[in-house]
């Protein structure tokens, strides 16, 4: 485990560095000068030079990259072109919305998907098993923002039981109000996320239900529940855990889009605003934070999977495919 942890951590650090480089390079492929975002039409050469000095685009690219990396290491993400405020605190303020939104949606999605996926597999020949499977098939094809729009129409505009959007000014000062404004976004993301999760849970359960070891356990006198508990759950959980990591990352992305539907002041709306205003420090900062989050989630999921599955631990440093 120690050696694996070391290798996996090395890979994580490498990916973080590569992700930072990829972000930097892609944004520098832009046709224009980022300084243009600061200037009005018809700026004098002196103004252009001043603007470039201010945002640091007058030095060679390697130096810009070094400066950006150094900033990242100090958690300094630069200054917004538009608001002239530091990007780091702005992102931190937005995370107050996005992180709870992601975690609550993810938790709800898992709560829906585990029992539904199990039933869809266990009763795959009954009408409700087929129905659950069909609904999940439909769910993976539905754009998340459209579900959000439909839920707003029904629950906020027609029934008026939940707010259509926005977030209280004092953030979590009034937890009740904050939670109410997150209710529809959370349901939206959870519904869509659970659809793909259900399919994984269903197929993992189907594999276990058709397995020889479960039949043997039953033949040796275990009850169905007992055999499932002792042998089935742990086996079924291995593929599900690895997919949970990816799903958590996907939930986070769902949040990026759904925040726009519900005008929540989160990371996603910040990114969309940044792109619309060509505010490169903001774009770079948000994408860096999101990518790092996704990489960390993958790291955690890999470790969790090894904890559950001893077979993976046995192959440390072993053969390559």
């Amino acid at each position: 485990m120690g050696r694996y942890l070391l290798r996996r951590t090395g890979f994580l650090l490498g990916s973080l560095l590569a992700a930072a480089a990829l972000l930097f390079v892609l944004l520098r492929l832009l046709p224009g000068d980022p300084a243009n975002a600061l200037l009005s039409v018809g700026a004098t050469p002196e103004q252009i030079a001043a603007a470039r000095r201010q945002i640091g685009s007058d030095v060679p690219l390697p130096e810009q990259f070094a400066a950006w990396l150094a900033g990242l290491a100090r958690l300094d993400l630069g200054t917004s072109f538009v608001s002239r405020l530091p990007v780091g605190p702005e992102i931190a303020a937005r995370l107050v919305v996005t992180v709870p939104l992601t975690l609550l949606s993810f938790a709800l999605a898992v709560l829906i998907a585990l029992p539904v996926g199990f039933v869809a597999a266990w009763r795959s020949d009954r009408w409700y098993g087929l129905l659950l499977n069909g609904v999940s098939q439909l769910g993976i094809a539905v754009p998340v923002f459209w579900i959000g729009m439909l839920l707003v129409t029904v629950f906020a505009l027609r029934l008026r039981v939940l707010p259509a959007g926005g977030f209280p000014r004092g953030d979590w000062a009034e937890p009740g109000r904050a939670l109410t404004s997150l209710a529809l976004p959370v349901i939206t993301i959870a519904l869509v996320m659970s659809a793909s999760l259900i399919r994984y849970v269903r197929s993992a359960t189907l594999d276990v239900l058709g397995s020889d070891y479960l039949r043997t356990a039953r033949a040796l006198g275990s009850s169905f529940a007992g055999a499932m508990w002792r042998h089935g759950l742990r086996n079924a959980s291995v593929p599900v855990i690895s997919i949970l990591g990816i799903e958590l990352a996907t939930t986070f992305l769902g949040a990026v889009v759904v925040e726009s539907v519900f005008t929540l002041p989160g990371l996603g709306t910040l990114l969309v605003e940044g792109i619309a205003e060509h505010d490169y420090p903001v774009i770079q900062g948000v994408l860096a934070v999101s990518t790092f989050a996704v990489l960390m989630i993958g790291f955690a999921a890999d470790l969790a999977q090894r904890l559950v599955d001893p077979r993976l631990r046995a192959h440390v440093g072993g053969g390559r495919p």
């Binding site: 992700a19 944004l27 098939q137 094809a141 992305l253 889009v257 996704v294 993958g298």
Partner: protein
């Protein structure tokens, strides 16, 4: 039996959208830019599905949208498929260090979430049809490449490859005669699933205002535009979503059905 039904059902749904897109090339009820219809006219009469808030005919917009969805979907699968298969073939054949390096690059590319990568490309270029295709294609190429690499490695480990090599077959001929024929069904299934994801990604980008700009009437943008008037004219907020779901479900069914048909060993246990 099940595979055939799934496949046919998928073909019908995808065919429906294909026909709409094809018809839109030669005939449209109105000019897409024609705003003479009166704002938010209800369905029926001169405008079968009504008009949007600018007075444009909704049916016309939806038909053009089918074309956009298919163009971006197929375009990005071509971009992502070519890049991904080429990269995966190279990594699959590469010796240890090159393979390791390529695999690491792929893992990082895959760690970049599709939509964020697409948004990054759009931010670096500008919102256009080409940007959307490039962005989504690039974002999917990592997954395709990793799949191709694994499939190639699996085929190369077979005895018949050794036999072919021993009897003097060149590597290019091995690829053409043994590797590609063995991996294409799995690749095709994955690429068609990617097509569905690409259509959804384009809709999300357009919804966020980062997709192909007007006059390209993307379904995602139609939904975004209809959001404010959903109570007074619900058709505009429902129809584009329904078409999106029809196309994506159709593509997924084609992929599932084809997998069951092409590979009898992978038939479901139940």
């Amino acid at each position: 039996m099940r595979g055939r039904f799934t496949f046919l059902a998928g073909c019908v749904l995808v065919g429906l959208i294909l026909v709409v897109a094809a018809v839109s090339l030669v005939w449209l009820p109105y000019d897409p830019a024609d705003t003479s219809g009166g704002r938010l006219a209800p369905p029926g009469g001169a405008h079968l599905l009504g008009t949007d808030k600018l007075g444009r005919d909704l049916l016309t917009q939806l038909m053009v949208g089918a074309r956009i969805a298919l163009t971006v979907g197929i375009g990005s699968v071509l971009v992502g498929g070519l890049l991904g298969v080429a990269g995966g073939l190279i990594a699959g054949f590469a010796t240890r260090w090159l393979d390791d390096a390529l695999s690491a690059v792929l893992d990082i590319l895959i760690a970049f979430p599709t939509l964020l990568l697409a948004m990054l490309v759009v931010a670096a270029r500008e919102a256009s049809l080409g940007s959307a295709i490039l962005a989504i294609g690039l974002a999917m190429s990592g997954v395709v490449a990793r799949l191709t690499r694994i499939l190639v490695k699996r085929v190369l480990a077979q005895d018949y490859i050794t036999a072919a090599r021993t009897s003097g077959t060149s590597w290019p001929r091995v690829v053409a005669e043994h590797v590609l024929p063995n991996i294409w069904p799995t690749l095709l299934v994955n690429l068609s699933l990617q097509l569905g994801l690409a259509v959804l990604a384009e809709a999300s980008l357009s919804y966020l205002g980062l997709g192909p700009p007007p006059p390209n009437a993307s379904w995602g943008r139609l939904l975004q535009e209809a959001q404010a008037t959903v109570l007074t004219s619900p058709t505009g907020a429902i129809a584009p979503g329904v078409l999106l779901v029809v196309l994506v479900v159709g593509v997924n069914l084609v992929a599932d059905g084809f997998r069951d048909l092409a590979d009898p060993t992978r038939r479901r246990t139940r």
